[in-house]
Amino acid sequence: MAGLLQEYVTRQAEARPEASALVHDAERLTYGDLERRSNRLARLLREGGCRRGDRIGLLLPKSPAAIVSMLAALKAGCIYVPVDPESPSARVVRILTAADCRYLLVSRADLPIVRDLTSQHADLISGRLVWMGSETPPDLGIEPALSLSDSAAMPDSALGSDGDSSDPAHLLFTSGSTGIPKGVMVAHANVTAFVEWANAYCGLAPDDRTSCHSPLHFDLSTWDVYGAFAAGAELHLVSPELNLFPGRLVEFIRSHGLTQWFSVPSVLTYLTRFDAVRTGDFPELKRLLWCGEVFPTPALKYWMERLPHVSFTNLYGPTETTIASSYYTVPAPPQDPEQRIPIGAPCAGEELLILDDARAPVRPGDIGEICIRGAGVTLGYWRDEEKTARAFLPCADRPGERMYTTGDRGFRGPDGLVYCVGRADSQIKSRGHHVELGEIETALHTLAEIGQAAVVARRTDGFGGVEICCAYVPKDRVELSPSQVREGLARLIPKYMLPARWRHLAEFPRNANGKVDRVALVEMFDQEAAGPGT
């Protein structure tokens, strides 16, 4: 039943207008509320001049207003661009510049960053600001072009649509190795293909209570939101600060009686570390899914043994192929801590290929690059044909079709399932986000005091994953403490990219070719982590 994403809500609003759609703290919206509010805001955007294909930036914390804004942008025929309001303003500027948004929706929660933008980048937002607060806007330095309160007078009936399911629905910006974030163009049809498969596989129904745990600029949230709306389920928005306190997070799942939870391994291992889960906890939970990074086997065993009534499903896939492309439901708690959990079999409509350097299939069991083709393959990178052409390749055996080369290394096991063994390049996963170490290095080199800097990732034991480490040589031998570098870097890149370990060096170790010896750097940080007095 492919169509446009906003139609999921319209259909629920027609059939069950009073059914609960969205819960956030004390706020609760029915499907009827969601439909009417998004219709009104969509009309306001249309009256404000929005046309099919225009980009609408959403600089909004996870909230019912943000969800209404996503739907309204789609109903106005536009492409929404969720931007992390926690990101440093320098990165927000890079994303807004690249996306070239017709409007930027902001709320009270973003006042510091909005004032930063108005004082330093007025050209980016002048005439484009939409105030999403219900109250009169405070002094933003620039008069908002539109305000949510203006939409109150708009009719709340459905708008006609000239959109097509092959149109982009949103741009999701991910880390780019040269320091410029890349905007993945995700079409309506990419998302509906995954939603149809995943909802059927998980048996999502109107009486389900699901959660939106991931941030809205993160592609896993796309299934949380549209999967719940397609099923007519009740979506519970999880505030980011809950992630900090394991006791509160598990209490949230208990008290909301979640029936399905889509999480990331970093959160699950964090809860494991504090032994936050009781045996038989979350009695209403039916399925727990994770994606985004490897879930360490000891932590998975912990979860499965405590929750024997829950199905545990591993999903795999980059943003470029929409949410996930393969799945594996773990049949029993793994007993061997070294046991590798497969990324599994392709979701319906997807295909995983393991290819060698010449793009020919490897033999079963041999390691090659995991490439993906099928319904999830996105339209490519926004206004970047070169990067798109490099990562999305034509399929030799299927004219007109493209596949995405993931950069992940993997093999097909004797069980026919695909196993992932790591990366071919310097991209890593940090708390579910893919991070290009090159983006961190590029940011470091813009700091005036840095002579040279290198960023490496080291594996950590047990429940951990990888740790980002930075070594640097100051320019002109000035005194430069790690905290000074960290502070400078925090103004340029998001927190999840900030290195955890630092080393001030007089000069870098070099290999035989005269290049920075990254292997030696990793060893240095490994020793520091293992040694006393750290």
Binding site: E86, E241, N243, L244, F245, P246, G247, R248, S266, V267, Y270, R273, F274, D275, A276, R431, S481, P482, S483, Q484, V485, R486, E487, K495, Y496, A500, W502
Partner: protein, 81 residues
Amino acid sequence: MIREKVAGIFRDKLHVDVPSDDLDLIANGIMDSTMLVELIVHLESEFDVTPSLDELEVENFATVARIAAFVESRIAARERG
């Protein structure tokens, strides 16, 4: 004394300059889960104090001053036996 040591952990181990002991580390987006885990490791090695699940709350971890007060109360409880 303990407060200075906690501030020292932030400065020298976590490499974060916290301008004031009363600055809300959570509301200001300074503390994330990775940093909290690191902090707890250092509290264990420096003071032999490990927070329980119930103690891991905003009230105990929002500021340097509150972290220090929490550590002090745990040490006092231990000394009382």
